[in-house]
Subunit: 331 residues, 2 copies
């Protein structure tokens, strides 16, 4: 690990200047401070300044609402805080947009704020810091994203394969054979994982996937409107969804078309959002235990801070059977 | 969770008799005690007796040596102890054979000894308790084994896919195209995982797998003697092994046949056993960080004891490049 002397040598300045910059002293220019922070981050400097400061972690969050209890991120943040604060950490929750990431390297941001580690929620493959994570030496845990081979970065999520295996097994037990998938586009790590989980679960239960069994689109309502009739034309009797929100949109679409759930069509969501217990009918779905996703995020950070090079932690993904699945209609 | 009253009602005996049996009182017959323990275990009873006793965990170990530092299990046990004992747990290491498992249900054993949770090392798919784990409600972590959907059971291991991806990538960069696999038989969870990891890594790098690229056998020296010449006949220039021990056996076999490593053939092991740094040439291999496997076993138990339903933790599997891999020989 780089020392203050290494940074000073690299920049051709004195150790005391480096030290002042790292400690946010006032008698140093903003541009010099920025140069020192960038160089320190590049060289993997972490030690002295962090050791002196208070124990601070951050949750960096993008593309995900978390402020009220019915929003997806709320319980993840809560579960993380419960674990981390009980062990004496301060936790900051920081919304993070792409523009900021473009201007400031990840390492500089973390060093500047004295964060020892971060939990990253909601980042897409297009977020600029996804590139920084490939080489970063700061303990960092990503929810539903994965970075190959870097021992400082770990991944936490629910086991999509287990969830889809249980969902397909449940449908097969109800007599379904033609099972479709409606998903968001494959521009995120987790949507690719769920897509592959669908393919493998179908294969596992010996079910064929017809040419038009899969619908993908960015806009929820629009893609539901497009794909529900197309899948029904194929004789499909059950549909898996990449997210609850798409399954709920499908309920509305089916209601408009006079298709009865589950008499004519069975639907299974993914997430177990609070509202899914109160839809008409209540939605059968694969649970993401969000309090546990928060707690595991903290556990994963603890592992990395203890020098355990974990790559991933997968939570169980149980199937919550409610009213939106029933026996396959007689052909 | 079952209470003492539930157990008493089920057996038609008094609560005080149940309590005596659970607390190992002397004024109760051995056969009654056994009946109570078995019923309590079946009903998922865990609470009262465990809460009163000291904090006790066990490592149950089969088919794995661990007593001296050069044996595979040694550092796993050490890494587990370091983490667990620092947090006030007593850890017992208990060798466990199939005969004992046949006679005593897992739940009875754990209740009888007052263990709150267990880390399971070296079990094969044929160990009788693998069936008990499917329904057990005792927090239990399995190294290199996996139980579907039971939220009380988690799995810890190294990421075979990451390891084999790195190994094949390394060989491709050296010009190899025909890469074989020598493995133990697919009667264990982890050997199946490594076999599948080989198939996927080859597919990922666009390499074909010829009809006789894979050799499998129980006995190490015998299967090496059989498969090394067979693979060489196919024009193979590099071999991946399911374990270091098979790669080291292959070195001897090659030396006997005048085949030079890595000039004529490149070899990559799996495990990074201490001795692999000292073979002639030193072995390129995929590391299993055994101290970390122990530490993660304890972390996984902590998660389960905190009610976090984790399914698996995978550690990084870095490639350690040494002298047994080199440029592909010119055809």
């Amino acid at each position: 690990m780089a020392t203050i002397a290494d940074i000073a040598a690299k920049l051709g300045i004195s150790k005391s200047t480096v030290s002042k910059a790292l400690n946010n002293a006032t008698d140093i220019s903003a541009s010099m401070r920025q140069r020192v922070l960038e160089t320190a981050a590049q060289m993997g400097y972490m030690g002295r300044r962090l050791a002196r400061t208070e124990k601070k972690l951050c949750i960096l969050i993008a593309n995900m609402d978390y402020e009220t209890p019915n929003q997806f991120g709320h319980d993840i943040v809560l579960g993380f805080r419960q674990m981390a604060e009980a062990e004496g950490w301060t936790v900051d929750v920081v919304p993070m947009d792409k523009e900021f990431q473009k201007l400031t390297p990840y390492g500089v941001f973390m060093l500047d704020h004295g964060y020892q580690a971060a939990y990253i929620l909601g980042f897409s493959l297009l977020d600029p810091w996804m590139v920084d994570f490939k080489t970063s030496q700061i303990p960092t845990v990503l929810y539903d994203n994965y970075i190959r081979s870097n021992p400082y970065i770990a991944s936490v999520g629910c086991d999509s394969q287990e969830g889809f295996d249980l969902a397909v097994k449940h449908l097969v037990s109800l007599g379904h054979k033609k099972i479709g998938l409606i998903s968001g586009p494959l521009d995120s790590y987790i949507l690719r994982a769920r897509y592959n989980a669908y393919l493998r679960a179908m294969e596992k239960y010996g079910l064929e996937i017809g040419e038009n069994y899969i619908g993908m689109g960015y806009y929820v309502a629009e893609s539901t409107r497009t794909y529900i009739p197309k899948l029904l034309e194929q004789g499909i009797t059950a549909i898996l969804f990449s997210h609850d929100i798409r399954a709920i949109s499908a309920m509305t679409e089916c209601s408009d078309r006079g298709i009865q759930i589950p008499r004519d069509l069975s639907l299974i969501g993914f997430d177990d959002l609070p509202m899914t217990a109160y839809t008409e009918p209540p939605l059968t779905t694969i649970r993401q235990d969000r309090i546990a996703l928060g707690g595991c995020g903290y556990y994963a950070i603890s592992c990395l801070l203890s020098g355990l090079p974990i790559g991933s932690i997968l939570l169980r993904a149980p199937l919550i059977v409610r009213g939106s699945t029933g026996p396959a209609p007689v052909a």
